[in-house]
Amino acid sequence: MDVRLRHKENIIAFAVEPAGDGKFSATFGDRRVDVAFERISEHQIRLSVDGRQTLAFVAETPEGKSVMVDGRTFLLADERAAGTRPRARSTDGPKAVTPPMPAVVTQILVTEGGAVEKGQGLLVVSAMKMDTLLTAPFAGVVRRINVAEGQKVAPGQVLVDIDPPAADGVAAPAADAAANDQGDR
């Protein structure tokens, strides 16, 4: 069985061969390790890799499966289950006005119909006493402001729709489609 896990931009690929009775061997390229495992609870897995025991902790989070071993936490996504995890954000993200973390809108600096320059401040969101200024990813006209001051917002949610100037018209529908996909999630 081939396993493909994504960690940030990297793919970790290895082959798993179940050996029954809570054991499997994993092959990374030409290197093979023997693993014994046992579920201790929903979030705890006892692992023994080539004889060395480790306790691993796992939890499903909105961003993927969070795995902690030896004091280090990794977010791992199963590539085989592609589609269950939205990948749109990393490619379309820079073109959409969306908060980097869950936050509250504290200030709206533009109005609908107004022209904006690339890099111009559009709104301020605040999370845990830290203010972040969200700026226009490209020059254009503010078509719609989708939020109000005081509203809670999440990453992926498009807060402001901007129409690029007519010259860039070809790119506009694509950017909008991506934005709407994320907004509906």
Binding site: L47, V67, F74, A127
Partner: protein, 494 residues
Amino acid sequence: MFKKILIANRGEIAVRIMRTCREMGIAAVAVHSEADRHAPHALSADEAVPIGPAEPSQSYLNMDRIIAAVRQTGADAVHPGYGFLAENADFAERCEREGIVFIGPPARVIRQLGDKITARRIMHKGGVPIIPGMLEAADDPAAWAAAAAQTGFPLLIKASAGGGGKGMRIVERPADLAEACRAASREAAAAFGSGTIYLEKFLPRSRHVEIQILADGRGHTVHLLERECSIQRRHQKIIEETPSSALYPVLRAAMGQAAVAAARAAGYVNAGTVEFILDPEGRFYFLEVNTRLQVEHPITEMITGLDLVRRQIEIAAGRPLSLTQEEVCGRGHAIECRIYAEDPERDFMPSPGRIAYLREPAGPGVRNDCGVCAGFEVPVEYDPILSKLVVHAESRDLAIRRMIRALQSYVVLGVRTPIDFLLDVLASAPFRSGKTYTDFIATHMAEWAPDGQALELAALAHAADAMAPKARPAGRVAAETRPGPWHTLKHWRL
């Protein structure tokens, strides 16, 4: 002594204060916003009073609602913790006026020390060394230029009402001075409602060393040694330790005496912290007084064996401080790491969310002051601190090893934490050798990326998790409906 104390705060500090209340036989009242209905601080109190929506101005910062909660529960005193109303002179004054004991210094002292330029004047008059710079605020370029000519460059612009780095600016060249002053003033006005600024000499490669003080209402003041708080990000501390590797007995005694002098000059009562900047030559300068229980107070508790909250409560109740300077003695070494919900890979950006799993470290010399639990939704409205992990050991080296061990066994899943980052700071050569200056993170950790060594192990754990069957949720339901051992058991004995 008080019968009931209301804790006007949330999170780990509220939980910590309640622990001492319980030990003293004093009932503890929690207040909580809608976002904190199921927060540990609300659940661990003797009474919990809802005070409004998540927005701080509608709840934890709302004096009317907090005073109403005091009246409703019949509490005789309020402990403000840190942050929120802790250094709000108006709140302390209002408590005084309404016959409620405010566990902290008198309102007048909070007001004077909260204005940094007033505090500088008080300290200067009291013989406490201050950073060379202005003693009067000014708002015209001529006065700024005159002050700059005296301090020299680089210099630091500060907001008199400041805090948290807002309104602060380093100026390297005379040509930039006027514009930087105007910008800092605007920023300060926006953040604090007062654009008053002043200039002082900038001391690069310095350390931030603070002295804990205790003063009773009868003029008896002692200091409880120092805390070194130089490891900071965005001007906020993330690792603190005591003793400081930069102090030696003569310097420690001198700084302790200066802190006591500062407290006396200000007419200080209750627990407070006098912050100093220490330059590489061992010269120290008054920075400010924090008129509250400090976030990092546990490290002082660890080495002195004293409970600072108990002392605060006793002093507020009018008792004399039964502690002489000679009785204060530090044993061993203590370190604190602040565990924030933030992402060290993205410039420590806040990371609110639901805690999916939490396992606190334990063992000899380990203390974790924690304000969250598994299943808790960490709100976006408040400070991102989840807990403070504190260790105590015989020596600095042993304390570092203990902290690394404790961090490695601290599991927080669901929100990002700086645990990875802290592990690497503690293990780094400059930290181990005590080279802890305020520019530590920028100098030594700017290129930091998480250690990927355990990635393969994590991948194997991921595979094992997918292969190991999970207990069926249905099983849980069945266990509840079928009679368990407690239902079928008859006579039994232990």
